[in-house]
Subunit: 437 residues, 2 copies
């Protein structure tokens, strides 16, 4: 049962929010000792929210599209009723005064905030305690490790994460969840730990494309405190995503300069996928300047994180991991010239991709990662197949449609034209149907 | 006769554009050997434009608000029919394909583009050939040296310049002209040599406040290629500027941390000005953090100029002046962290000034420079009294209302609330009337 179906049943009165939340809590009790997806979870508080939802419905109050549906929230996203520790000892016990904009939006849609999910340290690379629900010896990916694992394990139907390099798409793919990083600026980031204004995105985890559309419909919008959001009409993501494409879609298969590092079984799986799509997929060389866009991403991430995490550094650099300290040190030394050069390359590169979509293709297909979730918990894996789309702010979705030799999931990542999120969801639905049939 | 009057006479048919342009050319012939304000001036081309204006009027075609009025254009502003050399040997003979947005707007309003005025090298500090029209042993100021000198000398009623530190207000004050740097983003900069997106402004020179309002009315607007302009209603600057203020205005006298360096006679002149304004002026301490805003300005200017002038540097660093090379070298070494820090201070500082205006004051009064135009031509003077208002993007105007001991003009600079340009013009008119009476 996905979130869309659960919400419908609650609206129809054949399921209560309390029952749904109880089911989630039972599954969490069973799996959490192994998976460790949650940073904060107060069963009583979750049930109280659920009962209040049921109460409101019984009282005849209007119900929102997510009425009574539990959602997990990454622990870098502020919640006024639960701690938000940003994955760092420096913020232990931190209790924000306000909900983040997205949490406010979730509550307005009727959702139950089930609990806070584990993040890596400051959403960067130092792992948290979470393990891959499909094999606890493997990483769940990061930085939205807990959200990916919780949804992958069926502990909660929906969760929020964030992506500055590959922190939504990669863990979703590793944990067998559907992951979605919408266009930059579509979802407001107010109240989310700021690493990089240019690169930060709120991202979504779910168990179906419909659920991603349902969730995005609640979360997109203008927030005057996020300067990259714009006043815009409310977009009916669910209806567009639910339509049949007017023509059979064309896909551009993009290997990127990192293709050679891919696991052999993953390469094979993508070859089979291309075969299955026949004439509807063509390989396209888009990264003619080689690794440059990855360098721009790194330069911007390092420079902006160094500026944004300055207060943490001053407060207690010694309590930060070596990985994060090294990043911040590099960021402090980044030259304004290189930073500006990198920023200036984004818009023309996006325009180049716009043309690709205008001329011929409905979506890019590219791996979400080098293969299935790597063994070991010391690293959350390589974001190389995600970071460039994060840099460009283009919408990215991963679908758990394939498997590696080890039985772990292999995602299929689709990239859409910037600002065309609804169409990307529609194309993704078409692909899923095609592959599953 | 100012531009407003000239335009009216041309509309009324009692003056032709050709007569007006001939008058200007005669004055230029007489004074140019001494002043050297013009980088390019083709008398025949100017007269041809004037005759075409007169022809159109005789043919009954509609005439614009600047119909037949000659305007001087700083030689960093592109003109499709005249060279634009940006004050550097590297651009000798450069002929742009397109007019800058402001030149297009001038032509649409019926203006005659009289010629191109001298700029310092790349609108930075290395002087051009221009001398102060009121005393050729003194600097005209810079970087819009030619525009200020030409208007100050009565060679042309209107001219365009640009300001990234103090390049409009300072030379206007030195040459006895009215100078105006409107709010950042009000006038599009497309086709103007880009030094710094954050700091660059197009500015105006004229012989009256009415003329500045007339000119701004033609030049403000949205341009999709200047990301800091916004679609907005056309603002009737002339009518607002022409109104009486509903209440007698209150002025905040701001000394800034550079006050101690002022010339003694200038200090005295400002003391007299304050006396004349009596209870309508109060001294206000606004720079509690000392010199910091000047440091932010420098950091941003160096970093952004290094990025924008990179092509020039690669093309021929050896043809750049030592001053400019030293700036670009500092800019190349600026850290992204310091650059971001500086950028982030702008918005809250502007908000602080907004409050000052909301609570009590109509305008800030502050000197435009350390005194009258310094003797000598090796330096264009110190921009310290301008650069902070450039950083903040607040509107600044200078009025030639006073004199120094040496008989050279001393300007009175008024600063308005960001976005309140029309009201600043109205307040300036009130002040001028008050002082002249």
């Amino acid at each position: 049962m996905d979130a869309s179906e659960a919400a419908q049943r609650i609206r129809d009165g054949v399921l209560t929010s309390e029952e749904l939340v109880q089911d989630c809590l039972e599954r969490i009790r069973a799996l959490e000792p192994k998976v460790q997806a949650w940073q904060f979870l107060d069963e009583e508080h979750a049930l109280a929210q659920a009962r209040a939802c049921d109460e409101r419905k019984r009282g005849g109050e209007p119900v929102g599209p997510l009425h009574g549906v539990p959602v997990g929230v990454k622990d870098i996203i502020d919640t006024a009723d639960m701690p938000t520790e940003n994955g760092t000892a420096l913020h232990e016990g931190r209790t924000p005064r306000d909900d983040a904009a997205v949490v406010r939006m979730l509550r307005a849609a009727g959702a139950v905030i089930l609990g806070k999910t584990v993040t890596t340290e400051c959403a960067y690379f130092n792992p948290g305690k979470t393990r891959n629900p499909l094999n606890p010896e493997h990483t769940p990916g990061g930085s939205s490790s807990g959200s990916a694992a919780a949804v992958g394990a069926g502990m909660v139907p929906l969760a929020l994460g964030s992506q500055t390099a590959g922190s939504v798409i990669r863990p979703a793919a590793f944990c067998g969840a559907y992951g979605f990083k919408p266009t930059h600026g579509l979802i407001p980031r107010t109240g989310v730990l700021a690493l990089s204004r240019t690169l930060d995105h709120v991202g979504l985890f779910a168990r179906s494309i419909d659920d991603l559309a349902l969730l995005l419909e609640q979360l997109h919008g203008y927030d005057e405190r996020d300067p990259d959001t714009r006043p815009r009409a409310r977009i009916p993501f669910r209806s567009v995503a639910g339509e049949e494409p007017p023509l059979e879609p064309m896909f551009a298969f993009v290997k990127t300069p990192h293709w050679e590092r891919m696991d052999p079984d993953a390469k094979e799986a993508y070859a089979e996928l291309r075969e299955a799509l026949g004439k509807q997929v063509e390989e396209v060389q888009v990264f003619v300047s080689g690794n440059e866009p990855w360098d721009w991403h790194r330069t911007i991430m390092e420079a902006e994180m160094a500026a944004n995490l300055e207060p943490l550094w001053s407060e207690g650099a010694e309590k930060l991991s070596e990985k994060l300290r090294a990043l911040l040190e590099r960021g402090k030394e980044t030259r304004a010239l290189d930073y500006q050069r990198a920023l200036r390359r984004i818009a023309p590169t996006v325009e180049g991709f716009d043309e690709l979509f205008m001329q011929r293709y409905d979506a890019i297909i590219t791996p979400p990662a080098l293969g299935t979730a790597p063994k070991g918990l010391a690293s959350t894996g390589d974001p190389a197949f995600c970071s460039v789309w994060t840099l460009l702010g283009m919408p990215a979705i991963t679908l758990p449609l394939m498997q590696g030799e080890n039985g772990l999931p292999l995602g299929v990542q689709l990239i859409g034209r910037k600002g065309y999120d609804a169409r990307l969801l529609r194309t993704a639905r078409w692909l899923e149907k095609k592959i599953s049939s």
